[in-house]
């Protein structure tokens, strides 16, 4: 590497702060725990916190100082590292997505964190933590120009060769979707995101139960609620019902409030724009996030309508782009094309991403006639072992209220009958389609989901047959694509065996004859 030019560009002078913050995050939980739990022993706790902060600052300063970069015509040179010094060349052609993140502190200081990623998985190609606003926009612009030049070179005949004075593709940026605050409020009511916050809170409390002491009156409240519950329980299970319902309602409201906050903070000012082949999302109240990805690289679109979505006649549209195989910390990525949208907006977006697709005209095919029966059996397989002992205990255990046994039996019977009904409705609505260049799957009774995978995007396809499947003449087809790590792009259960084989043959052909597939009008002769 001695012959290569040495990069001389430096990060923004405030970079040490953000490197230090990153290091401090690693130390935060143990230090915080010690500081909170040893409140009486101020000196050592403060000293520990101070030492951790000083250590992080020193590390951040050294780390930021050692980072050098240089933007050339075709690539970026990077040299970084304290002990292990690493030199890298990142060619612009490798950069698939650029994401910018500006947190509250970033915005106060006036800087941006820039992450360059390739679609191949693994770590990001480069993390520029942090750049001044001028530098960041210069680098982003250079990447854009490079892409535009490459696009013009690749599609000489078709693409407009207009290079406007401002640069870029010549086509204007097109705003596809913006979300006003009213929509975000609806999203907060619809989504269960707050549940994650509650779960995290419970997790922290179970680790450090002493934290509860910090909340005044928490213990008394818990004790009084528990006392009333015990009183009601002794009078019979039926008397307990209003309590259970009230508690559920309280949790429901709390979860909604938390999700409301979450969505407003993360999605405030959501704007989805399209610039040529690129989709770009800008969002965030405190931390501004700017992510983009290629339309041509879309692996999967998922449209969701839960019961609450339907109440507001809204839906959520998610997208899967080639993702890093290794989860890479907190790099934001483009995963929600529309956190909340009306059905018409979502369909317009789908048409934008998969040109020529008409959702209404897809030729849906049903599952095997046995699907309802099979699904019910599968549910019973895990419901019965849980329910049967519970009912037996409710009958037999001494000390329970007298009506416990019959109530438990009635609940179990309702569960069995309800799941049979649910399985029937599910099988009636579940369907797949291999049509118009996509494989589509729709399912769900109360919460409905549509999955769309472009035909040329599938990778390994697996057909599975259990002994039951072979007797019934059914099969399960799973298709893989470059979606988020560990997720399965498509799973079609209980297809008729012939249908599964035909779909597999179709996907195989799309992959084996990629050239024929990519032609705009496939000629049957070739």
């Amino acid at each position: 590497v001695s012959g290569a030019p040495q990069p001389s560009g430096r990060l923004h002078p405030w970079s040490w702060l953000f490197h230090a913050a990153g290091a401090l995050k690693e130390l935060a939980v143990p230090v915080l725990a010690v500081v909170v739990l040893k409140r009486n022993d101020d000196f050592s706790a403060l000293g520990l916190a101070g030492a951790a902060a000083a250590l992080a600052c020193a590390y951040g300063w050294l780390r930021a100082r050692s980072f050098r970069y240089e933007v050339l015509a075709e690539e970026i040179l990077i040299r970084e590292g304290l002990l292990m010094r690493e030199s890298r060349q990142v060619p612009f052609t490798r950069v698939q997505s650029v994401s910018e993140r500006r947190g509250l502190v970033h915005r106060l200081v006036g800087v941006t964190e820039l992450v360059l990623e390739s679609g191949s998985g693994g770590k990001p190609e480069a993390v520029m933590r942090v750049l001044g606003p001028g530098e960041a926009s210069r680098l982003a612009e250079q990447l854009r120009l490079h892409r535009a030049a490459r696009a013009a070179g690749a599609g000489e005949g078709t693409g407009p060769a207009a290079e406007g004075p401002g640069g870029a593709t010549g086509r204007p940026q097109q705003v596809l979707l913006t979300l006003p605050t009213v929509e975000l409020v609806k999203l907060g009511i619809i989504s269960n995101r707050g549940l994650l916050v509650v779960a995290a809170g419970i997790g922290v409390l179970s680790q450090y139960p002493d934290l509860l002491d910090l909340v005044p009156g928490a213990e008394q409240l818990a004790a009084s609620v528990y006392g009333r519950l015990a009183e009601a329980a002794s009078a019979g299970v039926v008397r307990l019902l209003p309590w259970i319902l009230g508690l559920l309602a309280a949790v429901f409201v709390l979860v909604r409030l938390l999700s409301l906050g979450y969505w407003i903070v993360t999605q405030h000012g959501f704007t989805l724009t399209r610039d040529g082949d690129r989709l770009r999302v800008q969002r965030g109240l405190l931390t501004r996030v700017d992510v983009s990805g290629r339309v041509g690289a879309i692996q999967r679109l998922v449209l969701e309508r839960t019961l609450l979505h339907r109440l507001f006649s809204r839906c959520t549209l998610r997208v899967d782009l080639p993702a890093a195989l290794v989860a890479t910390g907190h790099v934001p990525r483009l995963n929600r094309l529309a956190p909340i949208a009306t059905a018409e907006q979502a369909q317009a977006l789908i048409r934008d991403c998969l040109p020529g697709l008409d959702l209404q005209a897809l030729a849906w095919r049903r599952l095997h006639p046995d699907a309802a029966w099979r699904r019910w059996q599968r549910t019973m397989l895990w419901v019965m072992p849980a329910v049967a002992p519970a009912v037996a205990l409710a009958w037999g255990l001494p000390g329970l209220p007298a009506d416990a046994g019959p109530v438990a039996l009635a609940a179990a019977a309702a569960l069995v009958a309800g799941s049979a009904w649910h399985a029937r409705l599910w099988a009636a609505s579940a369907a797949y389609a291999a049509d118009q260049g996509v494989v589509a799957w729709r399912s769900g009774v109360f919460s409905k989901t549509w999955v769309l995978v472009p035909e040329g995007r599938t990778q390994v396809v697996t057909l599975r047959r259990s002994p039951r499947d072979r007797r019934a003449g059914t099969a399960t087809l799973c298709a893989d694509a470059m979606t988020a790590a560990g997720t399965r792009a498509l799973k079609l259960p209980w297809l008729a065996e012939a249908d599964a084989a035909a779909l597999n043959a179709r996907l195989w052909r799309a992959n084996v004859e990629p050239l024929a597939y990519n032609r705009p009008v496939p000629s049957p002769g070739s």
């Binding site: 990778q459 057909l463 047959r465």
Partner: protein, 160 residues
């Protein structure tokens, strides 16, 4: 033949593990009443080990008998496996990222090799074809690589 050796070894290993696991449990259950108790429990444990290894042997043999793979020239590789729970894995040539031949110490001793096929997917990105002879694994890999290169050339040639 190679497969049976493989199966035998697997069965023996599993049996030994089963014996090691059941033995202390039985010792605990039957009590340490002198040497006789210890001997009784170890014989019982050995019995359990043999039973488990026979069961596994049979299962591996059945699995080995139905295991098939197929190289479709110019198209890709298909693997058929599982006797009761059957799986067909279809790996298109155009999706292959890279190929590995792996030979662990056991496989080297038995003269076997495993070919690993990688795609860029997110769930089933790795497929293994075990129990090949080294020559066969090498030949299959070379064949696939040559086809991959020819494929790439065709793609480059046909683009304007």
């Amino acid at each position: 033949v190679l497969w049976r050796l493989h199966a035998l070894l697997l069965g023996l290993a599993a049996g030994a593990t089963a014996w090691l696991v059941t033995w202390p449990i039985l010792v605990e259950a039957l009590g340490f009443d002198g040497r006789a108790g210890l001997a009784r429990s170890s014989v019982a444990g050995l019995g359990a080990g043999v039973a488990v290894s026979l069961l596994l042997l049979w299962r591996v043999r059945v699995a080995a008998r139905v295991y098939r793979w197929q190289h479709r020239p110019g198209e890709g590789v298909v693997v058929f496996k599982g006797a009761w729970w059957q799986r067909e894995v279809w790996i298109p040539m155009t999706r292959l990222q890279h190929l590995d031949i792996q030979r662990g110490p056991l496989e080297r001793w038995l003269g076997l090799a495993t070919l690993e096929l990688y795609t860029a997917g997110s769930h089933e990105y790795e497929t293994r074809i075990p129990g090949l002879s080294p020559q066969r694994a090498q030949a299959l890999r070379d064949g696939l690589l040559a086809e991959l290169q020819a494929d790439g050339a065709a793609v480059r040639g046909e683009r304007p």
